[in-house]
């Protein structure tokens, strides 16, 4: 179950920033990464999204040089990198724990990479000032890492990595330990910095909202495989695997059997029409996936598929209200309504309330 290489993008120079050619990584008996074949284009903000243990951090470490692939090769700007140790790769990393040098102050931390390259002292000074301005930490050069807040430390780590103008910047869940508000703010800042600097970012996260909002393209990983790779809209609206459907957003999978072409019979006995792929035959077992926001509640439009159900649970989330509706048998669907000015306040969808759900056939997906 490998993802197909990304379609030809808009990069003028064909060489991708990073190319994974059948990369596999084994730790003893376990395969952390399995036969990865993806391309990351220059200047894009690329995210590796997946649950813990899916192999995304291992992938990142292989690009940085801290792990070597067991099979396959990695190409950085067209050149294979196996023989190159981490300190000679044109790649820099922002670690999850920031990994700042505690015994050095902010300026020395940021300057570290430049000093290794033996850049002239006054040029270092200039570059450090420029970087600190970029991350909005001007004036804190003398501070020690322990004196800074989490968000500030993270920005130092960012500056420290960016100052070397690497070809690729790797970020390993950098916002994980920040509180929600700060995280949202940093997401915006990171995206802006990336656009300004133009460097390829490879961003690892398990937060799907983060990935959706920041990335040019996302690779969803599970158990070492890349399940799907594409732009956020594609990954969300057109998931190709049940896992992807479930990991990003709420999947709402209902099982059924194909009866006639274009019709699926659900476990509850109800038949719905659905856009089946050409090679579906009667008797095939399929799963229908519908996003909750695409489901209409009791206000069915003409042309919609209709189903009856009973409210099982109602959750108030502030901006939206979500209800879980039992369809009979094991099937359940989650639908929601935004609590906008048009929401009908008197409709309180109590538990046990019977209602009708509907969706346009083109809004559902068929998965096998």
């Amino acid at each position: 179950m490998t993802a197909t290489p990304a379609e030809a993008g808009s990069s003028t120079d064909g060489t991708p920033a990073i190319l994974f050619d059948g990369v596999t990584k084994r730790f003893g008996e376990t395969e952390a990464v399995k036969d990865m074949r993806i391309e990351i284009r220059r200047g894009e903000f690329f995210s590796l999204l997946g649950p813990s243990g899916c192999g995304k951090t291992t992938t990142l470490r292989m690009v940085a040089g801290f792990e070597q692939p067991s099979d396959g090769r990695i190409f950085l700007e067209g050149e294979p990198v196996e023989a190159i140790p981490p300190y000679r790769r044109n790649v820099n990393t922002v670690f999850q724990s920031y990994a700042l040098f505690e015994h050095l102050n902010v300026a020395d931390n940021v300057a570290f990479g430049q000093q290794r390259k033996k850049v002239a002292k006054d040029e270092i000074k200039r570059n450090v000032a420029e970087m600190l301005e970029l991350v909005q930490l001007t004036g804190r050069e003398q501070a020690k890492p322990r004196e800074l807040s989490g968000g500030q430390q993270q920005r130092v780590a960012l500056a420290r990595a960016l100052i070397n103008r690497p070809a690729v910047l790797l970020l390993d869940e950098p916002l994980g330990s920040l509180d929600l508000k700060l995280r949202k703010q940093m997401q915006v800042e990171l995206k802006e910095i990336q656009r300004e600097v133009g460097i390829t970012f490879v961003y690892v996260t398990h937060d799907q909202e983060e990935a959706l909002s920041m990335s040019d393209r996302i690779a969803v990983m599970h158990d070492g495989h890349v399940m799907q790779c594409g732009v956020p809209e594609d990954v969300y609206e057109r998931p190709e695997e049940p896992f992807v459907a479930g990991f990003i957003g709420i999947s709402n999978l209902v099982e059924g059997t194909v009866t006639d072409p274009g019709t699926v019979e659900l476990a509850s006995g109800v038949s719905v029409s659905a856009p089946l792929p050409a090679d579906c035959r009667p008797g095939d077992r399929v799963r229908i996936a519908v996003r909750p926001e695409k489901i209409a509640i009791d206000q069915i439009e003409p042309g919609m598929v209709q189903l009856e159900g009973t409210v099982e649970q109602r959750v108030y989330l502030g901006m939206t209200t979500q209800i879980t509706v039992a369809l009979g048998g094991e099937a359940r669907l989650v639908a929601l309504e935004q609590n906008t000015y048009r929401a009908r306040a008197e409709e309180r969808w109590e538990e046990g309330h019977r209602l009708t759900l509907g969706w346009h056939p083109e809004h559902c997906l068929i998965l096998r």
């Binding site: 300190y87 990393t93 700042l100 015994h103 270092i124």
Partner: protein, 296 residues
């Protein structure tokens, strides 16, 4: 137990309502009883040592009555050639052991934490053996080994034996500190362009040296104080101080021993206190020179 629990359940509020102290007098007494226990303990443990120190300054030979201050026993000690030789021998052994054990132990710790070889697991366990071996077993083994190899017992044999058994202390201390530092910081340094050697010099060692110093001083103190191991592996002359003292004590208690004992005490305790305090004191002066001036 059920009865007590029943009681507790029946009266939770009333117990919490009134001041807890009143309904549980035994509880209130506990700190007091324990406190005096602690005081008695401290007296008991410190008194003998204090008395030895006191009587080392006694102007008379008696161990029962203190007659006045005098440094004669210290003079006797320093005038005795054999004892002097022993003192220097002990110091020499301790210094050499400190340097060698620290070096070997630190590199071993680094190897264990940072590289994953086939031997790592086994070495980890083997390294603990010296720590749990009773000294007498260690002494006997060392003695047998040396005689098997046909070696003459001398200061050198003592040093070898002590180094062997001190390495583990160093390794344990340094290793703890090293894992605490975390490999991400070292990876960050390499990611930014520092070679392994540069990383070691610029990043790892600055963070590690308090542990190394503490371990070194600890080895010094342990070696200086060591008796059993030295006893089995020493030559005839010169002998380390503790061995000499032992022989003297067997023949009876003399006031000179008080002086020697006090001196040894001072040396060991100072060393260990330094081992604990030094890294903390110096560690605070971490003001590295600013970007322009410094080399870093």
């Amino acid at each position: 137990m059920t009865a007590a629990r029943g009681q507790a359940l029946r009266l939770p509020f009333s117990r919490r309502g009134t001041a807890g102290r009143e309904t549980r007098p035994k509880e209130f007494d506990r700190p007091r009883f324990l406190k005096w226990f602690l005081v008695a303990f401290l007296v008991f443990t410190l008194a003998p040592i204090a008395i030895v120190a006191l009587f080392s300054l006694n102007s008379s030979k008696s161990l029962q009555h203190f007659d006045g201050f005098s440094l004669q026993w210290y003079q006797d000690f320093l005038n005795d050639q054999q004892l002097r030789e022993s003192l220097f021998a002990s110091l020499e052994i301790a210094t050499v052991t400190m340097v060698v054990a620290t070096l070997l132990g630190s590199t071993l710790a680094y190897g264990l934490v940072r590289s994953r070889t086939r031997f790592s697991g086994a070495t980890n366990v083997l390294m603990l053996i010296p720590l749990v071996t009773p000294e007498i077993v260690a002494g006997v083994s060392a003695l047998l080994l040396f005689t098997q190899l046909g070696m003459q017992l001398s200061l050198a044999t003592i040093m070898i034996a002590q180094v062997t058994f001190s390495i583990s202390y160093v390794t344990v201390i340094v290793r703890a500190r090293l894992s605490g530092l975390g490999r991400e910081v070292e990876e960050a340094a390499m990611d930014l362009g520092a070679t392994r050697l540069q990383t070691l010099r610029l990043i790892t060692l600055p963070g590690l040296w308090p542990a190394i110093v503490a371990a070194a001083l600890l080895v010094f103190a342990l070696s200086f104080d060591d008796f059993v191991l030295s006893f089995f592996t020493t030559g005839t002359s010169p002998q380390p101080l503790p061995v000499r003292i032992y022989s003297s004590i067997r023949f009876g208690v003399t006031p000179t021993i008080n002086a020697i004992g006090t001196l040894m005490m001072l040396i060991s305790v100072t060393t260990i206190v330094l081992a604990i305090a030094l890294p903390r004191l110096v560690g605070r002066r971490e003001d590295r020179t600013p970007l322009l001036g410094g080399e870093v």
